[in-house]
């Protein structure tokens, strides 16, 4: 994506102020790009109105894939490819296949979930993360607002809303990507 992006940042010092600010800013019609904080703030995801993650669906589908792969593999090997009598059981002895199927289910569900999470969060090794403010790893909460998304509202208006919601600083930040 070759474009310049311009953000307005509100810097907050207190998590309670931040929580109220998020509600205020959202109710005034400004769309928040993201909030960065040094530690998990309880209930922030609800205040921001995030939808529930669809990661469990991916986990379920990858799990099903694991089960089917494991069962197919075992039935093919034990019944058709190289039938062997083991313990006097049938070639296709279903109970014997359960432990391997279970393990494959867990393995693929876990790998698939991690993979999907990394792709959807853009966590590739060569990714250049946007650093809005270095103090978000220390003691400040930062609310980032994308000006392009909120083009209907003037930059000054947004800054005013942020300042009145309790931000101790209101800064600009741009990225060339």
């Amino acid at each position: 994506m070759e474009r310049d992006t311009h953000f307005v940042l509100g810097v907050y010092e207190d998590e309670d102020v931040l929580m109220n600010a998020v509600k205020e800013v959202r109710s005034s019609g400004v769309k928040i790009h993201e909030v960065y904080s040094p530690y998990p703030v309880h209930g922030l995801e609800h205040a921001l109105g995030y939808k529930r993650s669809r990661l469990p669906i991916a986990a379920f589908l990858f799990g099903m894939l694991g089960t089917s792969l494991a069962l197919t593999m075992q039935f093919y090997m034990m019944k058709f490819d190289w039938p062997m009598i083991i313990g006097g059981k049938d070639f296709a002895a279903f109970p014997d296949f359960i432990p391997v199927s279970f393990e494959m289910t867990v393995l693929l569900a876990a790998f698939g979930m991690v993979g999907v999470f990394m792709v959807s969060s853009n966590l590739k090794p060569w990714a250049q993360p946007r650093i809005f403010d270095v103090r978000i790893t220390d003691d400040k909460h930062v609310m980032a607002i994308d000006l392009a998304v909120n083009s209907g509202m003037g930059e000054e208006k947004i800054k005013e809303i942020l300042a009145s919601s309790g931000a101790t600083e209101v800064n600009n930040k741009s990225f060339d990507e």
Binding site: F60, G87, G88, K89, D96, I98, P99
Partner: protein
């Protein structure tokens, strides 16, 4: 500091009113009627007795089926009662905050324990000889044609310090000690809880925590040994090293389902306002997780026996799977206790909404009864068993009696531990 939980009525008591009593009594009456029909049918079904005699061994009497039913429900509902106390103790030992307002609901199930103790000990004296193969003196008599070297080797576990084949002192002593300590711990918990309601402060919480820890140590041993005694010894030759856990997990799922149902029932009646869908979600997770744990143990037991195929072990499953009476119930058991709860409770929404949990928990309470039915009946009745009027009637009679006792006990004390130090934390519980 403002405590938001103080906005609720913390002094509430469960009102065990005539309406609820009447509906439970109706179930009790239906159960009794079905039981009477079942007993009459069993008495008239004389044909079975001859079959039993032909098959060798003892002739089958109709009352044996009644005895087996009493025993299934004794063991099953004792389990639900003790799991209430166990889950209560776990909350304190783990210093859990989320569960604070529902701890009294868990503890209430212990009210059944004293009655369960009397029923179990009395029925053992009346029915023990018919239920337990090892209570036959000739098995231990080397001169007898019935002499059984394997059971003779296990004899001391039942009869010590008496002569084998005489009177099972050790067995009865264990039964009395287990029930004695269980009831002791239950009354101890109740006493501390009552003192906490009266006096407040955190000292009772610490006291409860220590006693919970002692109880858990005792329960770890007693739950396993009671499973060997009361259930596994029915199939006297057979053994399984994880049987104690298997029975415990079955008890635990049934107990958790009963606790969840009671919490949802109380919420529906307008009690426990501070308990919201987050707490129900956690209970749902317990039910879901331990259903899978039960399946894990069931399958671990089955797979090893199936794979090794040693006659003395596989007889347990052959007796069940190849039986026209019990064969189908093996699959009913897995479907009710694993497949359905697993599929229905998998999503987050299902665990947060009462309707799904009500459905699954009811299913599980019946399902784990079927599990105990499959543990007890094949060894005691052979092909004379099955699920008929008598089984359904007896289950309803026991179930409604337990409901009467548990709700009666719940109504006596405070519904909410109003001085629990973590009540506020629990109110803000959020997942």
């Amino acid at each position: 500091m403002a405590h938001e939980v103080q906005n609720f009525n913390l002094d509430q008591k469960f009102d065990f009113n005539a309406g609820i009593k009447k509906s439970i009594m109706t179930v009790l009456l239906i159960g009794t009627a079905l039981l009477v029909v079942g007993v009459v049918l069993a008495m008239m079904g004389g044909g079975h007795a001859e079959e039993g005699a032909e098959a060798g061994g003892h002739a089958f009497h109709w009352y044996q089926r009644l005895f087996a039913n009493v025993w299934i429900n004794n063991v099953y509902f004792t389990g639900i009662a003790i799991v209430g106390v166990f889950f209560f103790a776990i909350q304190y030992a783990a210093q859990a905050g989320w569960s604070a307002p529902i701890t009294r609901v868990m503890l209430a199930f212990g009210n059944w324990l004293p009655i369960a103790a009397i029923l179990m000990i009395a029925s053992f004296f009346v029915m023990g000889h018919d239920l337990f193969h090892w209570w036959h003196a000739e098995l231990f008599d080397k001169a007898s044609s019935e002499y059984d070297a394997i059971i003779d080797g296990k004899g001391a576990f039942f009869y010590w310090p008496m002569e084998k084949g005489t009177f099972p002192v050790f067995y009865i002593a264990r039964m009395i000690i287990f029930f004695g300590f269980w009831v002791f711990f239950f009354t101890k918990f109740k006493k501390i809880a009552a003192a906490e309601d009266q006096l407040g402060g955190t000292s009772h919480w610490f006291k409860m925590r220590s006693w919970s820890a002692y109880f858990l140590v005792f329960f770890a041993v007693s739950s396993s040994v009671s499973a060997w005694d009361w259930v596994m010894s029915i199939d006297t030759h057979w053994f399984s090293t994880l049987f104690g856990w298997y029975v415990f997990s079955s008890w635990f799922v049934a107990g958790l389902s009963a606790i969840t149902l009671l919490v949802i029932f109380l919420k529906g009646k307008g009690y426990l306002e501070m308990v919201n869908e987050n707490h129900v979600h956690d209970l749902g997770k317990f039910v879901f997780g331990f259903s899978i744990f039960w399946t894990y143990l069931w399958f671990s037991q089955f797979l090893l026996i199936y794979y090794a195929n040693i006659p003395e072990e596989s007889v347990y499953f052959i007796e069940r799977l190849s039986s026209d009476v019990y064969g189908g119930f093996i699959f009913v058991n897995i479907a009710m206790n694993f497949v359905l709860p697993f599929l229905v409770l998998m999503t987050r929404d299902a665990k947060r909404h009462g309707i799904f949990l009500k459905l699954v928990c009811t299913l599980l309470i019946v399902g784990h009864w079927v599990d105990f039915f499959l543990m007890v009946q094949p060894g005691t009745l052979g092909h004379n068993g099955g699920i008929g009027f008598m089984e359904i009637g007896m289950f309803l009679v026991y179930g409604s009696a337990v409901a009467l006792v548990v709700l009666g006990g719940l109504a006596k004390g405070n519904l909410i531990p109003k001085n629990h130090p973590m009540l506020e934390e629990s109110y803000h519980h959020h997942i």
